[in-house]
């Protein structure tokens, strides 16, 4: 049995701070907006939808107590609708898609909603505690370091310079600005308040005209942490072949902190017939792969290879890639490792320009990729994200 993607929507992304446009909007409201839009767009018989699987990383406060069921209850789809919230860190939104596809392919479910949400302006990253970084019994033997230092470690080990990263970042901004100008973000939904007044109608973080020169003036974000908190030494203990950590990442070449949500409608063929909807694509393969917690952001390549193998494909079968720009070095290392060109990767920009609402991004990338495959009339795409703690996730979709 195949799992089909009937549609994919995402919200606009607001800056994830006190001044961000979506700071006054709850994550439940963000999710509901998409659920309502989906129903309206397709005149959806909501009785057919069984479950909402949402990725969300910081599951406390507004996002605590199973926000998927909370949003489901608010959506008006009906009391039958269930909700489950999952956390695979930055891979959560894509993990939700993969789980939904797995439910469908196994025959356990006919139709589900999968996506993710993160209001980073309202629920601070890291405010859910956890043992990973602060339990000495875990963190010390694990050589745990913050992600930014890990990104700088990757750059130091694989020879990426500050200039490489800044050039990548400027290109991401350029591509995003071009896509925005051409109206290519077709699956994007504006956020309106309870009166119907538009709160945000664009991705707030895009900075058209960003230059390499301007970026070169920014201070590295993780140098202090690396030195004062000892994390450079922790990294070198694990990777002694690196002479020292070159701190190349800063606010301008790392993903922006934003608020946003995304959903997709995933079901079997029969469900499509019942809804009267034609599928846009199918999920061909899905994989995760673990790496060590120190160089934790190099998972995309091994996860992608695993997915390709599962699909019986090689890299030349993939028309377009979406690789999450958590830090500039992540897609750069991915391209280096896989041996693929920048012309196939993140053609409409990525999280450096648009932002990375942790739990939602994976599903957002899938929607962006699907829109672009349709626009270019190409067939196959691969979505992949690096994941904190040392994981990678990859999904291959194919238009039908």
């Amino acid at each position: 049995m195949e799992a089909y993607i009937y549609d994919a929507l995402r919200t606009v992304r607001g800056k994830g701070n006190k001044k961000g446009a979506l700071n006054g909007i709850t994550p439940t409201y963000l999710t509901q907006t998409l659920l309502k839009e989906l129903r309206q767009k397709h005149d959806l018989d909501t009785n057919l939808v069984e479950d909402v699987i949402l990725g969300c990383v910081t599951q406390v406060m507004d996002q605590g107590a199973n926000i998927a069921k909370t949003a489901a209850q608010q959506s008006g789809y009906g009391d039958h609708l269930c909700g489950v919230t999952l956390n695979r860190f930055c891979g959560s939104g894509l993990e939700a898609v993969n789980q939904a596809a797995a439910y469908v392919r196994s025959g356990f479910s006919d139709l589900l909603i999968a996506g993710g949400v993160e209001s980073m302006s309202r629920v601070k990253m890291g405010s859910d505690g956890g043992a990973l970084m602060i339990d000495p019994a875990v963190a010390l033997p694990g050589h745990a370091i913050p992600q930014g230092v890990s990104a700088d470690l990757i750059a130091s080990k694989y020879g990426f310079s500050r200039k490489d990263a800044d050039e990548f970042a400027a290109e991401s901004q350029k591509r995003a600005a071009a896509a925005e100008a051409k109206g290519l973000y077709k699956s994007r939904v504006n956020i309106k308040d309870i009166n119907g007044i538009t709160v945000l109608a664009t991705d707030e973080n895009i900075r058209p005209g960003t230059t390499v020169e301007a970026l070169s003036n920014l201070n590295p974000s993780f140098a202090m942490m690396g030195k004062m908190a000892g994390f450079d030494s922790v990294a070198l203990d694990r990777y002694p072949e690196v002479e020292r950590i070159n701190h190349i990442h800063h606010a301008g070449n790392s993903s922006a902190i934003v608020d946003g949500a995304a959903i997709s409608l995933i079901g079997n063929k029969a469900a499509g017939a019942k809804m009267g909807l034609k599928p846009r694509a199918k999920v061909v393969a899905a994989a995760v792969y673990g790496t060590d917690p120190t160089m934790m952001l190099v998972g995309p390549a091994p996860a992608s290879r695993k997915a390709l193998k599962q699909a019986g494909m090689d890299k030349n079968d993939i028309d377009l890639y979406e690789v999450n720009e958590a830090f500039a070095v992540v897609p750069m290392r991915f391209m280096q490792d896989m041996g693929i060109g920048f012309d196939k990767v993140n053609v409409n920009g990525g999280a450096i320009a648009l932002g990375h609402p942790l739990g939602a991004t994976g599903c957002m990338l899938m929607g962006t990729l699907l829109d672009e495959l349709e626009r270019q009339d190409k067939s196959t795409g691969l979505i992949t994200l690096c994941i904190g703690g040392g994981m990678g996730i990859a999904t291959i979709i194919e238009r039908v």
């Binding site: 000495p136 019994a137 010390l140 033997p141 908190a229 450079d232 203990d237 002479e243």
Partner: protein, 725 residues
Amino acid sequence: MNIVLKNNILTYEVGSDGIGIITVNMVDHPANLFNAEMIQAYNEAAMTAINDEAVSGVIVTSSRRMFMAGGDLRFLGKPIEDVDAFFKGMMTLHQKMREVETGGKPFVAAINGIALGGGMELALTCHHRICVNDTSIKLGFPEVKVGLLPGGGGTAKTPYLMGLQTGLTYLLQGTEARPEQALKDGLIGELVATQEDLIPAAKAWIKANPNPVQPWDAKKKRIPGGGLMTPNGVMTMMGSIGNVRKITHGNYPGAQYILSVVHDGLELTIDRALEIEARYFTKVLQTKEAKNIIRTGFFAINEAKKGKAKPKGYDFQKVNKVGILGAGMMGAGIAYVSAKAGMEVVLKDVTMEGAEKGKSYSTNLLNKQLSKGYTTPEKMQTVLDRIEATDDPNAVEGSDLIIEAVFENVELKAKVTKQTEAVLAADKVYASNTSTIPITLLAKASERPENFIGIHFFSPVDKMPLVEIIVGEKTSDKTIAQAVDYVTQIKKVPIVVNDSRGFYTSRCFGTFTSEGVYLLKEGVPAAMIENVAKRKGMPVGPLAVSDEVSLTLGLHVMESDPRLKDNEEMMELYELQKMLVHEYGRVGKKGGKGFYDYLPNRQKNLWPKLAELFNSDVDTLDAETVGKRILHRQALEAYRCLEEGVLRSVKDGDIGSVMGWGFPIYTGGALSYIDYVGMETFIAECDDFAERFGSRFSVPDSLRAMAEAGASIHDFHKMQEPVGA
């Protein structure tokens, strides 16, 4: 005062004002110590007071110079035979201390002297701590320095007194704070000016605070600055974990367990937190690392300081006057430490100018201390007055000891020896501070080779505590005894070794640097060699330290070694170093170019061409093997020194390695390291290395015999004794 209780641990008496005083005086011990016996006696006295309606509060103090020195390492260093019973014993101790602090009556610690470790923990059972404001008093928890964690409540309680960040700093660094600092940080609550003010201040506090509650028992218990699960707490814990690895590289479980006790227990009731502390304390005492640090870092070094290496049967021979020949950096440093210890010093150089310059070294050091308030102008002058700078060779007449510290040249040294012996009394000792030339060779210039010895100081002399005493072929025991007495007099740590090329420390240190270069030659990336060495606990990488010593000097040492011609492995290394020095001008740090590039005001960087010259590749060798080679090689050389009789004791070998060239203390030292790895494993790995990397890893038969007998390295001399003797 009415004496209620008196035993060999303490006296408990009650005054007419209804205030009790518990005075600890453990007459059977050299100082008051924290142990089960003491806590039992303390609890008994305290409970008598608590149950006595006539008593309103209790002062805890000491009649010894120190309030309490700390835990009883003699007991803690022993193997735990019954883990369960040990843990229960710790819980009983906690219960006895808790009974005192929750008994409902005010307890005040009147801290009259040093209170460290267990001493501070005894004071923490009191509701208030008053200390005399005397800069010779130190307060804190040094346990981490002996590989342990404070196990008498110190780890669980400290964050309540000074917050998470400062508390963790005290615990993880083993801070020994002066009273003023301790007050500022919250470890104590009050200072008084003199000893006489202590008891009245304590009584006043008791009268003003009839119902005190410990901060960890308060209804709203609060950690200053916030608990663990606050943004600050999380950042502090994250940073502390990072820094613990930065400093310990994961080699010291004690530091990790301190973090764990705080992490696991801070948010819980104090009783639960103390239980967690007891579990980790029980665990840390079972680690090889703690045992090694206690054995070598505490006991062996303390015994050595007292002159354990001194031959038996000689009375203490005090040095009143010492003649120092050569006022260069070493001579100047030796003059300083000798004058500081109260000796009359003659500092002789070829020119008056040179001698004065040598003396100014002391002036500069003392000025620094003066500016920090560690000395007074009068004391400073007294020390300086003891040093006579001179260019007159006859000025050393009347010295009890001569220390020659002239340039490392056999002819020059011979000349100086002859010149000096002409004025030195026939029964006095002549020592050479050489670091490379065999003493037996130098002694040939002496009329009295039995009085000739090597006293090898490390640079800078005022900071480095180790002194290697080198016994020449004809050196008498009496001379050795005199040398040891001198070193103990200047409060340094003497080890005694027999003559050999490079003696003990320089010889083993040489294997550390040379193994680094072998690895480089094989294609292991330079960064990996340096970082792995540090990860294993060496303070500096072998390539950086080679640069410090200078590659040119390294070449000279190799050239002067008669074994060079016939040793292929050594020749390889020599040719390589020669190429670096002569073809590429990589002379070392002084020249700005060695294995590293040295640019002014910049961090040193590894010379990029190394990777090209040696085809460096990460996959050449795994980091684990790199690390083992670096440490095994040094341990093997230390063992050879033991086997050849260069080392006279295993402990001296351990001490020399740890204090002389920075071999990591968690292993116990270069010889104990063999036990740490496991003798059989060590031998098997060296055999493998000998096959893969060269015969320098070949294992002596006597070590194999020890492994077969199931012996420990510490049994070496026992095994050498003739059977049935």
